[in-house]
Amino acid sequence: MTSDASPSINGAARVTTGKVRPHQTQNESLVFEKSSPGKRGYKLPPLDVPAIDIKALLGSAAREMPAALPELSEIEIIRHFTRLSTWNYAIDLGMYPLGSCTMKYNPRVNEFVARIEGLADAHPYRPDSLAQGALEVIDLLQRCLIEITGMDAITLQPAAGAHGEFTGILLVRAWHESNGNARRKIIIPDSAHGTNPATAAICGYTVENLKSNADGGIDLDALERQVDDETAALMLTNPSTLGVFENQIHKIADILHAKGALLYMDGANMNALVGKVRPGDFGVDVMHLNLHKTFSTPHGGGGPGSGPVACKAFLEPFLPTPVLVRREIEVNSPAPESWETVGDDQPAPLFRAPVAEPNSAEDPRKEHVTLCWDYDRPKSVGRVRAFYGNTGMFIRALAYILANGPDGLRQTTEDAVLNANYIRAKLEDLYELPYKTPSMHEVVFSDKRQAALGVKTGDIAKRLIDYGFHPYTVSFPLIVHGALMIEPTESESLEELDLFISAMRSIAKEVEESPDLVKSAPHSTRVSRLDEVQAARKPILRWRG
């Protein structure tokens, strides 16, 4: 499936000296190919207990032949995985302008906080009374996200954005069902993320497409005609996938609410809104966030992701179980186990539930407040994730929010929008801008001028790799033919943005002077163009066929 560039680079390396070249350009064989009989990465002391007869113990389950595991020394395996790790393109290596993905820097302070003993070691089966620190982190993050979104309630369970959509639409469905009719359809604009229609379909709804108007926004008249008594919700991304803010959003909400339909917001582009406007204030009923986009937790490479769902109060009874609640402990009841041992002369535990101000004059019982999980939720849509969600991401996102503070988050939003508009201003003389409406945190060009010379968006993206950048998002959104979707995020400095802009300008010049150079890119990687078509039509799923 690889092009002919692969064997030649590999072959050349072998033929010349066998000396190691920079690993981005060098192929690495599989551990099985490096294996040699008898090599070990460990040495055990001689057996000083009676040997066990495995066959007698396991019977027919005992292996006849040893497993065909690769045999390597410790340094070989260390080198193998270290070399593989150098193939990664990561935000720590350079700009990652993948539009719609918000590939922002993952601050090191997040990692520091997530490794604090007590948080890092917290076990999900630990009783609530012994997990007050971790629960306090979850509670504070919930309150921060509710404040940022302007909603009333939240669940942190969903493990990613699409999972959040699924959970959000389950809430919509449960609410409609509680009113006696689940309704039949969900309306989705043609600029939406592909996950939106998939979510609607898997929740049992038919999808109705809504065409964008000339500015790339919602056509209010068309929406008015389309919304009816069978419409469960509109799933809307704001700003849209064109990076355009939906100015009529409150009117859109009014049209839906007049027919008893709900407004779902895909929060993928929340990085353009944080600290500036709140979806809860412009009519959104339920939405998801992506902690791995907007709130700087790792994105890609296993993340893991996290897609909290925030909703208005009327949807709260349907939230996945369990939900975190504060309960007051009566003073006469036995203190929680964890507190019994903490006397006056002992240091207080590192994390401790906040103790409510004693107000004994009015109510002597209200002395302690404790956080605990409430499972008694008869209207809940049920669990959507084991335990409480990807808790490690909650710690990182909270660290990001607290490190920035309200003003810092607002500045982040402004910088993200400024960076996208800087790129737009510096490139719009060379690349076609299909929608002239003001850009928010990302800018979408088209390859119209380059395509006239036979070079498409995918070619330009691949050439960008030679300049040391991760490609932008290619061919999305679908309403722009040959889209180049660029989202720099606030992480990039003016210097890095200028490097990117000069790379894009240089490629535009190459398209005019030597288009074949761009059409055959990348030229600096171990392998060049993979045969994507054959890989999809006739995939080879086994090593060596």
């Binding site: 592909g194 999808v207 078509v533 999809a536």
Partner: protein, 129 residues
Amino acid sequence: MPYPANYRYTREHEWIELNGSVGTVGITDYAQNSLGDIVYVDVPKVGDTVTANATFGSVESVKAVSDLYSPVSGTVTATNEELKTAPDKINENAHGTWIIKVELSNPAEFNALLDAAAYESFISEETNS
């Protein structure tokens, strides 16, 4: 590639040819060209009902997954088995490669579709917009 005069077309880029009460449905050359290399076609089962202007399946290319919209209402009488192993037939010859056959329940729907000239002017507008 010419757009056959005996076919009718949708604004979603499907074509249909009518033989008696059975319509043969495929996607247009313009559609296959926009999608790029097609790798998978998802079709309904024989006996399923399809509704005019509603999705009846999808076509997946290297670039995107796109819904298929039925030009007419009716019952599916056959699906093109060849597309399971050779979806690229659509790229090679879009107007000669059918996807499903439909027994029309409302033949008037056929006459309401675009003819070849109207479809060609529709796609030239779409290309220039």
